[in-house]
Amino acid sequence: MKVSFVIPTFNHAAWLPHAVKSCQEQTHKDIEIVIIDDFSTDTTNQYIDWLLKQGDTRIVYKRNEKNMGRSYCRNLGNKISIGEITCVLDSDDVAAPDRAILTMKKLTKCQVCYGSATAMNAIGLSLGEITARPLNVPASLTPITNWRDDLEKGIVELRENGIVHSTMGYLRDIALKYPYAEGNISDLGIDDWDQQIRMMRDGVIFDYIPDSICAYRRHGEGISQTRDPIEVMKLKASILEGVKCSQ
């Protein structure tokens, strides 16, 4: 069974090679590595030129004509990938060698899965484990009425679903049915969360892999470090309001 790793990237010349290598070194060999370059202006091109000359036919590469945002790239990647299973991988993260195998096994019992992850710093030193837990679907779908209080109490994390996006895997048809939202949702980096909320609303079956299947890089330029938390909460509140109405 073919597993597609979809890697959108923008100006991550320093990290992308780590991500690609982690896919190439999967214990499961029937994979494809779909790289969507969102018009990078750093030295990503030079790396890609080299990579394409290495003769690994599992590499699929597309470059946008202009910067389109990460949701566009993820949707494009999901669309052009051909594997029955799609694994999400951000270009600054690294997949564990048995990620494809574990995801394949898990998806015989569910439609979407996620797993534990290891946080690492910019140069790959471990910062500890982020353990995957069962989803609390009702809580996730409860509208946020008092987000300003939540923010003050520092419980923003409760609204994160606890899923490290770079650990997610789904059956291809699910990926196509739930495209990531573009625009503001994408720019604030809650496109993944938004997608999960819609899946939960529709009763898509989630399950998790207890093992660490991805190393997640925390560095100063990640969107989660730079975005405005108030804007994020406002947007999340309005999304959940919408979900409630449609239920």
């Binding site: 100006n11 010349a13 780590h18 750093d42 030079q46 710093n121 140069i123 560095h219």
Partner: protein, 479 residues
Amino acid sequence: MVSLIIPVYRPDYEVFKKCLKSLITQSFKEWEAVIALDGPDNAARIIVDGFTDKRLKVVEKAQGGAPAARNEGFKHATGEIVWFWDCDCVIEPDTCMTLVKEFDNKDVAFVYSGYKFLGENGGIPAEPFDPWTLKCGNYISTCFPMRKEAFPGFDESLKAFQDWDLWLTIVERGGKGLFVPGYAFSTKVPDAQSISGRNFQKDTWLDRVAAVKNKHNLPDRKVCVSSQDHKAEGIRLAKLIDADYKDVPNYKPNDYDTIIQVGFSLHPGRIRTFSGIFNQALKKKIIFWTRENIQEIQNTISHKALTSYTSALNHSVVQFVEDLYAKEIMESAGFKVAILPMPLENTGDIAPLPATPKILVDITDDYRQLVACLCHSLPEIQFEHMDENKPINDYNAILSLNTERTMSFNVKRMLLCGKNVISNIQSPFCGYVDVNSEIGKYMSELVDATRKRVNKDTSAAVAYYKNQLSPNKLQEILK
């Protein structure tokens, strides 16, 4: 067969006994000893006879000094290796075995090591064989083996330094020496009256040095470069500006008028070995502060010590550092310094950069993890750790990250050879990347900088550094 030739003149008989005993108990057995009595000496004969060892032969001549006695002894030597020995030297049990084995190499005319003093710790280390440094001063004791056919005879007309003269003559005739690290033997601490002793008159000493220099047409240089921690760089600099090189310039009498010290430690336990710089008789004194010195000043030298040295050094010594960052640190510690990169010879030909990019890595420990990550970020580039023996032309660039952020010899050498530099050094063409920014940002910048620089044209950099690193500026200062 090895022939040991031992001149004997008024020996300390107890030590003489030990000397012979140490020979007889050597692990190496194929030797003879020619004991050359420099004037009659019955007590010595009795000691030799006492050993009843047929390998010990005694010859006697009228008293006429050690060189003559050695030449006389040589006439009786039958071995293909001759080894001039002293009656107050005690050899280590395996020395013969270790040194004689080296003559299997046909290129070798003589073999040497360092030696110790009886009853004292440590000793006089020798140094790797280099005909150029041998011309600046002797570092090889008489008591080492050579091929019989290489031996030119001791010059009996010289009043001193026959050992230096001996090795110079052998080397001038094309003989090569081989240095074996370690200590070969122990000798009695020299008497105060002897040439090796401490009370020797400066003028007499200089006359006798001059005699050897004249005989061998050695230049009488007035400038001496010296270094404790950067010997190779010191020698390189000395050759470049045609100066002498000595590890410690004021250890023996000399008539230099200028000292250039490469590296200068203010550490209380070490400052004495550098104190030659304070000699009032010197016309000019120059210090090149190295990155290690600067770090030492920042981290380990007390404020009080600094204050006493800054005034002394600022008053009489011209002090240089290699770049702006080093200058700022030294100035904040109170030193009056100017920027002058230590000159470097221009190695000439510049080869084109290799098509498959390869980078030499020269980093301090704190960057190890970062560079390990960097190697994975740049899979199209090969990284290899710095090693002096690797041919520079195999590489496109050097990655130099060091805590002191200062220009190193390796970086200069690469620049002159037309290689690219990626570093945290704030000098022109050094591919500076700001080490103080957030690590993720720094990492990204480093990856991009490395990719962009690895195959860059370097002709402008070469032209700039040929000028910067030429010895002209230093020679101007020396005038």
